[in-house]
Point group: none
Chain length 133, copies 4
């Protein structure tokens, strides 16, 4: 597990952990049954307050994505992959809709919204290719 935390982007740190964990599971980086790092280890590794990690784990457990294994730690739950994949799509879809709604409510034409999207997608695609290379 390699967490990239940005403490200044307005998204709560625990939420960033949750999302990255779910991504990792959706991608297959974390597989069903795999043992997660302990709260203390992950906190030390990522220089995060253990309370914050604990909170993220609580959230993931509530989402039935991970489950406690008595005396061992937390492991990726059985249905996790399915949940994470659909979760992610749902979440992204919701946020997409909310941005579009706000634009339309603000009087931006659907065509203009599409233009904005095209530009943004183009830019982001380029950027992601850079990072890969």
């Amino acid at each position: 597990m390699h967490l990239k935390i940005d403490s200044d982007n307005g998204i709560a740190i625990y939420e960033q952990i949750v999302r990255q964990m779910k991504y990792a599971i959706a991608e297959g980086t974390l597989t069903v049954g795999q043992l997660l790092p302990s709260v203390r280890d992950l906190a030390k590794l990522s220089a995060i307050n253990p309370n914050t990690v604990q909170r993220a784990y609580m959230q993931l457990q509530a989402d039935e994505v991970i489950e406690p294994l008595r005396g061992r730690g937390m492991v990726v739950a059985s249905g996790a992959k399915r949940i994470c994949t659909s979760d992610r799509k749902q979440l992204l879809s919701d946020r997409m809709s909310s941005v579009i709604d706000e634009a339309l409510r603000g009087g931006v034409s659907p065509e203009h919204v599409r233009d904005m999207f095209d530009k943004a997608l183009h830019q982001s695609t380029l950027k992601s290719k850079e990072n890969v290379s």
Copy 2:
């Protein structure tokens, strides 16, 4: 001025007021020089605490979108329309990019992102037409 305030969506009430005011100016519902409703009136109308409205007005004033007319009230500042319009586009564009980035980082293909966008735009367009009719 007709404000729709949702006190449970995580966005601060004063921030919602600020945004809706800026939208109204960008759209032309509020025009330069126009006298805004008084702090107390707007508060009573929208069932918000006057202090919260005051804070929104403070923010708008700091953004040079409105200005006080001593003893009269607040009026839409001269450069307001330009500021609001560009503000809004910038904001929307940023949020669009952040959603796209997150999707791509999460391993969703650009084509899939485009599909999601198309569906969301379609849905939102229909919904906004309903509200008009």
Copy 3:
């Protein structure tokens, strides 16, 4: 009487009237015994709310600079010139001191303060000559 009112400089309008009246008396533009314009006339001329002018006159009366002449209006009081002249010097001197104090407290050296003063005085002298010519 020709009043220059700036409603956006933070100084109360009635205070601006008071000061300009006192200046005019100190300068000799207004002489002892002279009849001042009526509240209504001055208000109409300068596009100020009559209440505001009334307040300025009240203040000037309290300072014993003008006095009411029953049925005629307000006239410049006998000791007005002396009062206005010393008032103005005291006031200016106080404000000068407060600016200097703030600068020194803020760690600006006396030499630097003098530099700032010299530049400002130079600039202001030029500007005032322009306006005369």
Copy 4:
């Protein structure tokens, strides 16, 4: 941090806090990255309402002079020193000019203005030395 608040001088308390903070940063009493006293602590120390302190911090944050460190407190922002120093000079220079302008407009000769300044500077310099000793 030792704040001197005068609640009767017409300047808003929160504004006094803002200015003194900026002075402290310009002077070097507060250095970049330094953790500021918490809203509650500063309020208790200076016998001010926490909301008023909060408002001052809000203003400083808007001026990009301090920034929040989530869950830790507020710290002096990176560009703060530069901003505060230039802010202060600009502010002092403006106020100096306004006093001089008013004097000249009021018919005081430039030489007389210089005299007033010299006396005031002399007096203030002595006073500030006293406070040091």
